[in-house]
């Protein structure tokens, strides 16, 4: 195989279809950098995504990809990871994909605690379908489906994560590249389910939560003073949204992974196992 410069290793020839200025570019670049710095190769990584602008991301990376249905990112990732735990599985999608259509899987994937990473590009809007309210759309915002303003307040996915004892729950910002790269690296390294919500300006359909809006509000949690293993404190921090929005690891806890609990860790991947005919014959005996 020809050697490639690390930064090109994850480059994909597929032309990017995002709007100029979209926050997704920052996420794509951060992810590329993180993968390189994690010293992974394209074939080591499987990205599973749903449908939406965010969910197009894996096309723009060289790595294995399963770009499935809107909202069904996590179940596909779950099946793929169980079948081959050697893969570094990263699930990826938008706020509509993950919190609306995929809301049930989000809760249950956190319970299941497979060793994978879930990135949610939270632009607080449905981008690909041209601007309808998402579960994280701010109150009063006018969107295609809320012409009089959104009557609901934004859901707090990170609070749901703390409530679901998600072992690694964090927030990044597409405009804070270095921090985001480190966050993604930590998330991938975390053994268990890691959830990173990434604030992502949508220049076309979210004229409220713009780059500047986020920039003015976000602050990076001080690792010296903030203890993400304190669940109660994490819950409070997860609710913080408004004038100040925390970035960083909000919650951490050590939980045994699904792979560990189900004896998959270290064992040959399901995909490589073959039928033991003797055993099958023995089972047949039960029916005589």
């Amino acid at each position: 195989m020809t050697a490639m410069a690390p930064k090109d290793l994850f480059a994909s020839p597929d032309p990017i279809a995002w709007c100029p200025g979209c926050g997704n570019f920052g996420i794509l670049n951060a992810l590329k950098r993180a993968l390189v710095e994690l010293e992974l190769r394209p074939e080591d990584v499987l990205m599973v995504s749903g449908i939406g602008q965010a969910a197009k991301l894996p096309h723009y990376l060289r790595c294995n990809m399963f770009n499935g249905l809107h909202g069904r990112t996590l179940p596909v990732a779950t099946g793929a990871k169980i079948a081959n735990p050697v893969l570094v599985v990263i699930a990826d999608g938008g706020d509509g994909d993950g919190y609306a259509e995929g809301g049930n899987h989000f809760i249950h994937a956190m319970r299941r605690n497979l060793d994978m990473t879930y990135l949610v590009h939270n632009n607080q809007i449905y981008g690909l379908t041209k601007g309808q309210a998402s579960p994280t759309t701010d109150r009063d915002m006018v969107t295609g489906t809320t012409p009089e303003g959104n009557v609901l307040g934004p859901e707090k996915p990170l609070a749901l994560a703390v409530a679901s004892e998600c072992g690694f729950a964090a927030r990044g910002f597409s405009g804070n590249m270095d921090h985001l790269v480190e966050l993604i690296k930590k998330a991938v390294r975390h053994e268990g389910f890691s959830f990173v919500e990434i604030l992502q300006p949508c220049v076309s359909f979210n004229k409220v939560n713009t780059f500047d809006w986020y920039k003015k509000r976000v602050y990076v949690l001080d690792e010296a003073s903030y203890d993400p293993t304190d669940r109660t404190a994490a819950f409070e921090k997860a609710l913080e949204w408004g004038d100040r929005i925390p970035l960083g690891v909000i919650y951490r806890s050590e939980r045994r992974t699904y792979e560990d609990l189900r004896g998959l860790k270290g064992a040959p991947p399901l995909k490589d196992r073959t039928l033991d005919k003797e055993k099958l014959a023995a089972v047949f005996e039960e029916f005589f």
Binding site: E43, I51, M65, F66, T78, G79, N84, L87
Partner: protein, 587 residues
Amino acid sequence: MSAKKDSPGVCDLSIRIGGEAGQGMNSIGSLLGKAFVRQGLHVFINHDVMSRIRGGHNFTQIRIGDRPVNGPSARVDILVCLDKNTLDLYKDSAEGLVIYDDGKVQGDAPAGKRFLPLPMEKIAEEAGGSARMANTVASGALAALTGLPLEPLSELLGEVFSGKGDQVVRANRECALRGYERMKDKRESLPACGLPPSDQAGPQRMLFTGSEAMALGALAANVRFYSAYPMSPATAIMEYLATKEKEFGIVVEQAEDEIAAVNMAIGAFFSGARAMTGTSGGGLALMVEGISLAGMTETPLVVVDCQRPAPATGFPTRTEQADLLYVTHCAHGEFPRAVLAPGNAEQAFRLIGKAFYLAEKYQTPVFVLGDQHLNDSSWTTEPFVMDSLFREPQSLISAQALKDMAPYGYARYEITDTGVSPRLLPGTTGQVLYADSDEHTVEGHITESAEIRKAMVEKRLRKLAGMRAEMAGPAIFPGAGAGSYLVCWGSTLGAVDETVRGLRAEGADWGYIHFSELYPLVEEPIPRDIAGKARLVAVENNALGQLCRLLRMETGLDIGTRVLKYDGRSFTPAELRRRLEGLKGAE
């Protein structure tokens, strides 16, 4: 009262055990059924169950024959009433022997020689067990009445309860013994049933439920991952496989819902593990989008739909065949699929294997249609030939092709003559693959091109021709040349087979045509020389004649005469016979 009425000259005995949900009628069924099979007889066991856990009225019916029996009989030779309700329900209509618990019937004990009182609960308690062991007492009593020796029963009780400790085994054996003793002098009440002497080893046969057959079929096909959400009557497949997780190194995952279940199975098959999901029609509804995803991403997938009476929740514990057109047409857009519908447990076992083979070779979803009658009933089957079971992985990219490929040069959706593109698994050194639910280029990236779209639609649909060529036509009994044929599919096979054999035995010129591989249909599903000449009567466990509609859509053939049943119960040969006679009258 003759045990030979339906099929003259052979042993054919039916035992019904009725009681409340929770009284263990099904345990009697499996126990006795297995004992009879070990004696070399054929057994069929079915269950009539309400959707509740305690109370109500359920029954289990065991049919025993010295020739294959593949469905229930309408006649009951021995009725066991574990509760008073069962006695009240049948005492006036029962034709055979009736065993009832006289401890539960105060005062108005039924009169007549065929009513045999047996205080089962009391005996169980006296035997050192609890009232819940009344069913074992009944088993012993039934053994005595049918001439089944006690030893094989005792042996089975040992096998079944070994996990629960010696004390439980002993109590159960004692219960069986006491039941046996109480009834052994009643043996003559019943005509002899050709049971071989106990010391003669009969031919070895297996007895299992349709669900067990499907689970075994999956194990034999090297299934590695089963994700599902509980739903009757499919839950038994999941629960059986769950007990084999450790031994076989498989993973059974209970998903949060059926959407997750199907998408997990797709993810697992994508990663390279043979994966399957199973549900009933309502759960399948939630999988429809996932099925289209498998079609578009060209991911193999095996989906079992254990039909039950619908729409909506319907009759959760009863039977119907009303999902045929649904599975052949569900999901938006057009993509290849296959639909198989086993007629009995042996076919269920075998067709699960075929489903995996087709799904993997053609990289597309394959349905296996069961139903409550097929899945919950127990069927006697000749032993499997192990060698023919397992098939090698299909349509993966070859090692040579991989070696010749430029780094990261693999294209997932290469256009081929067969429509099948060599498949790569994620994690292959030096290559990656893109699987996409959008319309895509050969590389798997999103496209907007009209030309590519057209080529991809055609590529995917070309697989139908390949699959069609691998499908088996219907089983035609006894071959061409009969004057009339019953046309059926799936689990009606047993009732149809018995009815036709009965008619033929009486000299009537009937045959039957049974479909177990339904889509894509073979070129000429009903051979011209039959379709053109014979009278065809469809027999379906549904209200709209779905096989008729499918045949007409695919071939133009119109089967106008239909015997349909949609009351949540399966056909018995007697009922089918009556309905056929009714037809004749009507014409």
